[in-house]
Every structure is written in C-alpha cells, then in structure tokens.
Symmetry: C2
Subunit: 339 residues, 2 copies
C-alpha cells in the first residue's frame, strides 16, 4: 500500500502524526511519501499545486491530508482555490463523503440530540465550486460579480447512484437536500435524477428537504437522516452544521472519493489548520484518526476500520472533562487497536 501524506499546516501536522501512528499499528509496511503542500511551501516559493505534484500523487493508493492554510500569512482563498479545490478536481473526487455520528461523551450542543448516525454524500466537482463566474468594473460603483453553479446529469447521476448504494447498505433512507423551489434548473436536474435512479433501489425510501428546512431538522430532529445527497455548496454548509451538532469538528472525518477508482481518494478531517492552537499539543486528532478509518474502509479493509472506530468510540466515552492532549489520544487509540 502506497500512501501520500500531506500534513499541511498548523494542527494538520500534529493530528496527521497521530493518524499515521494508528495506521502503522494496524497495517505494517505502508509505503509513505510526504508532500509539503500548503502554506509552508507557498510562503517559501509561491507554489500551491503543480502538475508534477498531481502526477506524483496519482501514483499512490490513497492520500491522507491534515489541514491546509494559515490565515495570518496567506490571504483567504489562495490555498483553497490554488490547492484544495484543484486537487479535488484534478483527482475527480466527486463523492465528498462526510459521516456524522454522535459518539457517547462528545459535547453536542443539543439538549435532546437522540441518535445521530448519518452520512452526507456531497458532490465534489461541480456546482458553485467550478470557478465559473467573473467580475466587471471591479472597484467602481458599477461593479458586478457573478458565480455560476454548473450541474451536469453525468456529475449528478454518479453521486446520486453512490448515495443510493450507501443508503441500501445502511438504514435504507435517502434525503435529497436542495432548493428546488428557487433554483429550478439545478434543482430540477437533481430531483429528476433522484426520481429516475430510485427504481433501481426499491429498498431505499426517498425523501426531499429544502436546504433551509434541512438546517432546522439538523438541530431539532437529526435522527431522521440516514444518507443525505446534495450539491457541493449545500453539502459544505450542512456538513459543518452536522459536525457541530455531533459535538464539534474535532471528530468529523471526510473522504474525497473518486468512486471510479481511477485516481487515489483523499481522506481528511473536516476541521482546518487552527493556527491559534497549533504547536501546543492540544488539538484533537480524532477526526484525522477517523479519516484513517474511512480510508481503510474505502480500501476494503473493513475489519481494521471497525477496530479504529470502536477504539475512538471507547476513548470518547471515557474522556470525561479532561483536556485533550494530542499525543495521549494517539497513545490510547494505538494501544486499543494493537490489543
């Protein structure tokens, strides 16, 4: 197994180190290549992501990413639009997979959360993330800035199909989240695609929810969700909210998946590089460690993935009010999966 590792910036470096320890404890002999992508390289030589990087990354079975960005020294958007998004597009990561589970002991802000266990399948290569748009008369009173959401049947159908498949092997419920009452062109395409794929999955019950209503359900009745399928921007929004209601982005993992298998998929915590707490050894590596579990599952190593998840669940349940120490969380998970 050849793994590309992009620790990135800030706490990305710290949490990735623990994630790798967990991986090493479970799967000996993984061949790793480290990439210095992120703020560090950008500040050194102005590079974000080169053709050579992409070609080299393609030679791996999977990619593990920590977190990217340093808002103190790199302007907003530079690394997002220069590295993170180009990577998703270049490697055709159309299934942006974001599971949300409420682990016992995690600090949900909800009074009565119920059982939360759902997966968001966020489309990762279309919508408002395509960079389609422009601006004229910038800086004048007549400035106009546009952003165009691009949605193709090809692009929508492949994630819808992926989401149906996941729903079938879970609790059999799929919820499309969109804003079909306003965005009729994109929404019509999404809704019709779901309707047309549905008969192939008779075991799956289909539901629909506007994005605004979905945010309400997310805080009042999150247990109603099993698999959510949605576009790139709505997925971005709903998964951050989902992470918050399940106790914070400290435990939210994600996979950027090329479901065709042509390119390596990439696994990363949903959280950012958090420069404010970087270098202090207090970042929670749980999301990075759960990203390893997602990766193992994606690579067919289900037993190992389950061991990581069980270890994380036990660890979160026994933490109490003690503050997080990054390396100690790593120690505990490593020891649990090594038993």
């Amino acid at each position: 197994m050849k793994l590309a590792v992009i620790p990135g910036d800030g706490i990305g470096v710290e949490v990735t180190a623990e994630a790798i320890r967990v991986l090493d404890a479970l799967v000996p002999g993984v061949e790793k290549t480290e990439y210095d992508l992120g703020a560090r390289r950008y500040l050194r030589n102005g590079e974000t992501l080169t053709e050579a990087d992409i070609e080299s990354l393609k030679g791996h079975d999977a990619i593990l990413l920590g977190a990217i960005g340093d808002p103190r020294s790199v302007p907003a958007g530079v690394l997002e639009r220069g590295m993170l998004l180009p990577l998703r597009f270049a490697l055709d990561h159309h299934v942006n997979l974001r599971p949300s589970r409420l682990y016992p002991g995690s600090g949900t802000p909800l009074r009565d959360p119920g059982e939360i266990d759902f997966v968001v399948v966020r489309e990762g290569t279309e919508g408002l993330y395509t960079g389609n748009g422009g601006a004229i008369r910038v800086g004048t009173p007549h400035e106009i800035g546009t952003e165009t959401s691009v949605n193709t049947r090809f692009g929508v159908e492949r994630v819808v199909r992926d989401a149906f498949g996941r729903a079938r092997s879970r609790r059999g419920k799929l919820t499309l989240v969109h804003k079909t009452n306003v965005l009729v062109n994109a929404g019509g395409l999404w809704q019709r695609t779901v309707d047309e794929v549905a008969p192939e999955f008779p075991e799956v019950a289909v539901d629909y929810c506007h994005i605004d209503a979905a945010t309400i359900y997310m805080v009042t009745e999150p247990s109603r969700f099993d698999v959510i399928v949605t576009d790139n921007l709505f997925g971005d929004i709903i998964t951050d909210l989902a992470a918050a209601v399940t106790g914070g982005i400290g435990t939210a993992a994600s996979g950027n998946i090329d479901a065709s298998g042509t390119n390596p998929s990439m696994f990363e915590p949903v959280h950012g590089s958090a420069p404010d707490i970087a270098g202090q050894g207090k970042a929670d590596p749980t999301a990075a460690i759960l990203s390893v579990a997602l990766m193992l599952r994606h690579l067919g190593r289900v037993a190992e993935a389950e061991r990581v998840e069980a270890a994380v669940e036990a660890d979160l349940g026994s933490r109490g009010d003690r503050p997080v120490v990054t390396s100690e969380v790593g120690d505990r998970i490593v020891s649990a999966v090594s038993d």
Copy 2:
C-alpha cells in the same frame, strides 16, 4: 394608514386573523384591502401575480402576508417563483430583515443557548434568486443546469449600509457571512463593500464568517451575533437555522423592506402555510403578530411595536406546556396591548 393584507393559504389565514386583531387593538381605523393571492387563486384561475395586483399593492403603506403555498395541490416552485419572489423584486424589497431573539419559555433545542438577540439583514433582490440560469438537453444524459448568482455594487452597498445603521443602533457589531474563499467574485465584492463602508460607522466593529462556520456558531455560540449581513441564499439558510435555535419558526417574523421608501414594505412570518395543521386552530400566531410589531416599528410607531413585543414576551414566558390555541394566543396579546 392603508394596509394590504394577503392571508394566503393554510395557517396563513388563521395567523393573519390574529395579527390583524392585535393591530386593530393598537391602531384603530387602519384601512385594509384583502388580496386572495396564493394557492387558492392559482387553483381557481391559474393566476399567481398580475401587473394589476402589483400596481394595486403599491397604493398601500405596508403589506401583511400570512403564508403562501399548498404543496398538495400546487407544484413546488410555482408560487415561489410566480408570486413570492416576483413580489420582492417588483417592490424592490432589498432588505430582508429577520430578527432572532430567544424568548424565555420558547423551546430552543440548545442545551446552553445563552442570550440570543440578533438581526439578519438578508439581501432580497440579487444573488441566486434572480432567476438567472438555464438548462440544455433537459432529460438527456447530457443535461446541464446552471444557476447564476448576480451581485452588484449598488445592490450590495445598500444592504450593507442598512446593516451598519442597524448595528450602530444596537450593540455595535456587524458580521458579514459569505463564502469568500470559494466564491471570489461575489465574495470579493461583498467583502470590499463592507470594508469601504465601515469607516463611515466607526462605532461598529466588523467581523467576518464563512457560511459553513456561521452555522457552527449558530448552535455553539449564537450570542456572538448582533447584526449579520449576507446574501439572499445564505440569508435564507441562516435565518431558518436561527429560527430553529430560538425555539422554532413559530416565533420568527420578517420584513421585506424597500429601504428607499418608494414601495410599501411587506411583513410576514418566516414559517410556511403548514397545510398539515391548517384549519385546526392550533397554529401559533406569534410570528404573524411579531410581524405586525416589525411593521409598526418600520412605520415609526415604535411605542406600539414595543407593546406588542412585550406582550409576546410575557405570553411566551407564561405558556408552560399547554398546547397552543391560535385564537387564545390572539386573545391574550390583544388583551395585553389593550391594557
């Protein structure tokens, strides 16, 4: 005072009746014209909103709307895109004002909500709501659907200025919510406009938050917000979430305001027509009644607005677990404001 009343559909009719009773108790002699816009008229003669409706509505000082739509008989999008949105555009309702307050006794889903009292200034005439977009090869494997967010300096500046003004007369904090790291054309325009207007309001502290992060703060630290300014779609999403964390859309009021005063502004509950509970007398008219308060405030009748708000606050605080009876809520508020 000439008031146009659009009770609409479902519970819209019921809650508007109570709102009108409250208004009558406070401001005798309001001249009212009722409009049958909504699902009822559409199902009768296929009309959504005519030029004559718009001209006639313009002859009023304000508009009170209940709720529109009947998902059982009118396809999604028909009334939204045929009536609600055209009304906002025709009357240039660029300031979509949505206050959020946690009233004592209201059932917030948050364990530890803190004090919640903020206002969202949602842009109402631009962004992804302009109907700019299209579709080709519909129904084929090559279908493409696009939606274009249109943002102008003129349109952004006027709501930004309005939001700064509101922040100055509140707690002095303005938060721009956008997704500037991805939507660079629209985001750049919004961010620069805020930066350029800010020096005119030195009393106001300015903050920025991505939409995804804003949904996290909304459930973990909603007290951080005072005035939020954002675009049409982000505003739609964040205000539904805000309504949920303050105890549900049963108490969320909104104003669709033409801040230039050229056209009558329109006031309405954020909730929909809820056909599932219509006709049973159990819809909460509080949001409609608070919409009357917003309207009175907008029309300069601050003392009357405050009486309504105080009455609502007292009523919510004393309800306990008793189920809502629409007319009884109206009775209690009418009697409180008549004292």
